[in-house]
Symmetry: C2
Subunit: 414 residues, 2 copies
């Protein structure tokens, strides 16, 4: 299909073409690119060489930015037009890039030779709680099976405002946070003893809405720029002590890791499915007349001393509220969304023991140790590396995120 080699198992097939921002050793400024197979196409270079035509040329200076915000702000139809233009450029029978050696030199990089950067300037980050099995499992742990789901849970997508400044990209280390915990009669300051991960997907907002103007659910998908994988690192002992009555704060504000390549909403559209656990009888402002979920296979691996252990295999269809429902609910009060805002899905657990999205659930809050070859774990230890992966689609046409990796470094001494 393409004149570039694309491995059939690559998450970055021609059907995907995710967008990101990168720099290189020789050209250390940040600009936009598209990932395909093991390559990166430099969109800023394409623009410089006059490859974009017509209205796509008029706006192509957005690719000279250090983030994708200006590109996203063009809106979803424009974003899709650029994606399809790049797709066409990569086809085996298109000579424009294929036969222009100077352009190839300037515009094609090896994926593993570029330095990725945070793709968006994130104004606000909201984390939802739409993984129904996760919410149930956590509820059972803390309140028992009778009251596992709170009364509001099946009526609205529960969420909270997260910390935008601590969002980082795959590969950046995660320092074990220090914080206030209360394991005995009085609180102490200590490195977190229950450091956890959370398997999530997340959406970026493209088109903003003005304050006071809710986004109706029928139009919510126009506001979704694209998706990334997300690990919402969580300090369970800090959380347990701090969270009443205003919710998680320090337990979530030290780091959240996302993948640097944004899979455009249109690339994920073919993988829409009906969420099997979606609540029924929702109020009209949350009632969606199309499939709201995505069939995206997700995995969690834990790398300890060079050995990789599969912890979980889950799927995004376990989210019982859609991103459209999150947008409609978030803005029903008139709350303004801005280009670059990030929506986390909440932890995505399946129903089985080997499909859970957090160590909290896998080890019943540390009560049951997991055997992993010659070692065991309840929560994360220093130097552990968590690797999330996720992709939709069949071999040869995968639409995936690339790995979301974070390695735990020891707490800094205070």
């Amino acid at each position: 299909m393409s004149f570039l080699h694309i491995d059939s198992e690559s998450p970055f097939s021609l059907d995907n073409l995710p967008f990101g921002v990168f720099s290189t050793k020789e050209k250390p400024y940040i600009r936009a690119g598209v990932a395909v197979g093991r390559h990166v196409i430099d969109l800023s270079a394409l623009h410089r060489h006059g490859v974009f035509q017509g209205r796509l040329s008029d706006h192509a200076s957005v690719f000279d930015s250090t983030s994708l915000n200006a590109f996203a702000a063009l809106g979803r139809p424009f974003n899709q037009s650029y994606r399809l233009f790049v797709r066409n450029l990569l086809l085996a029978d298109n000579p424009v890039l294929r036969d222009n050696e100077e352009l190839r030199q300037d515009a094609i990089y090896d994926l593993d030779k570029v330095q990725m950067h945070l793709p968006m300037v994130i104004g606000d980050y909201t984390d939802f709680y739409a993984g129904r099995n996760h919410a149930y499992n956590v509820g059972v742990l803390f309140r028992g099976p009778e009251n596992a789901l709170q009364p509001n849970y099946l009526h609205l997508p529960v969420g909270y405002h997260g910390r935008a400044s601590s969002v980082q990209i795959s590969g950046q280390p995660v320092y074990r946070p220090n914080g206030q915990i209360c394991p005995g009669p009085a609180p102490i300051l200590s490195p977190c003893r229950k450091l956890d991960m959370e398997l999530e997907i997340a959406a970026f907002i493209c088109t903003p809405n003005p304050q006071g103007a809710p986004i109706p659910i029928q139009k919510a998908s126009d506001h979704i720029f694209g998706f990334v994988l997300m690990n919402d690192w969580s300090a369970r002992d800090i959380q347990a002590w701090e969270y009443v009555p205003l919710g998680p704060f320090n337990s979530k504000n030290f780091a959240t890791t996302i993948t640097p390549w944004v899979v455009l909403a249109d690339a994920m559209e073919p993988f829409r499915v009906k969420a099997p656990d979606a609540p029924t009888g929702l109020l009209p402002y949350l009632t969606q007349d199309c499939n709201g979920a995505y069939d995206i296979d997700l995995t969690v691996d834990l790398r300890i001393s060079g050995e990789t252990h599969r912890l979980s295999r889950s799927n995004a269809l376990h989210l019982c509220f859609s991103f459209e429902q999150m947008i409609a609910h978030h803005t029903i009060t008139g709350c303004p969304l801005k280009t670059g805002d990030l929506f986390g899905s909440g932890t995505i657990s399946g129903k089985e023991k080997d499909s859970l999205g957090s160590l909290l659930e896998m080890t019943l809050n540390g009560k049951e140790e997991m055997r992993l070859g010659s070692v065991s774990r309840t929560f994360l230890e220093d130097h552990d590396e968590v690797i999330l992966n996720g992709a939709a689609g069949a071999s040869g046409a995968r639409v995936g995120f690339g790995p979301c990796i974070g390695r735990i470094l020891p707490a800094k001494s205070l």
Copy 2:
């Protein structure tokens, strides 16, 4: 003292000189200014006329920005130098501005003729809960006097991440939010029926800290740019239904109103006092060896059909955690703060019935009506106007914020 007339009751005395960003009809671009009495000094014009000298001249292009972020990022000592330079410029015996008619024409505006704008680009907004009487009163309402304060309350400054995008300035209207409430057996979508205000002060961050590097409490004051008054509008019925288990979300994300003039931290420094209700025996990372609170008189007025009713008279010394403690706690995990981040104090209530900072407390969650002349109120009604004021210092040397005003407009029909 100044060649400009400054009313002795003005919150903008020579001892204050707060910074903001404004535009005018004739020059509609946004630039930085300083408020003094009923005047605004255009800092961008001062720079254009070459008034700043030496290193103050080198950096004065920050005043051409549409926000104060670049100015704040210079750091607190620089900010203070500019404030003192402007103060000197305004003294009765300084001819530089006084006797330069062209400069005066260009650089002095009437306060009521300029259009103010949001002073900072706010990356993240955190709202704390440091008003001990408020936390106690709310605790009594929902859990009774025995368990009014949660176990963590006197050990750490409880807070949550708020919604940065919905922060607006005094004078902008507040639409009554629509939202999901549950007054009966099943939830409904309705205009909020329990719309409340919250009397707070708030701090802006100047110097950022890198991810993974906590700010020690002894250095926290270096990171405080300045202060504003804040009304953290709250939808109590939406909050009651949504807030378990992750805290307030839609109930707080429709609007938060702040004053447009930022009182620099150094201008507020003379009004430091020891908080009478400060908890003792804190962990060392929260132990502050100087006075943490501020003696700032605060009032809440409600304007109904042209008549103004005094609802409350409170004081910022009722905050039992200082902004330095909030900063030390917020970053103890390594959470990065950025220039422009906003820290709300939490609602500031006194101990008396006429010193409360929210209608929730004044009316016992709507159970006790307030008589206000010929009308009565439990929560806010459409067209009600809430006016907060706050100032420290004596007559002739007041350091205040100017009014923080928000008028309720009817909910938009969906």
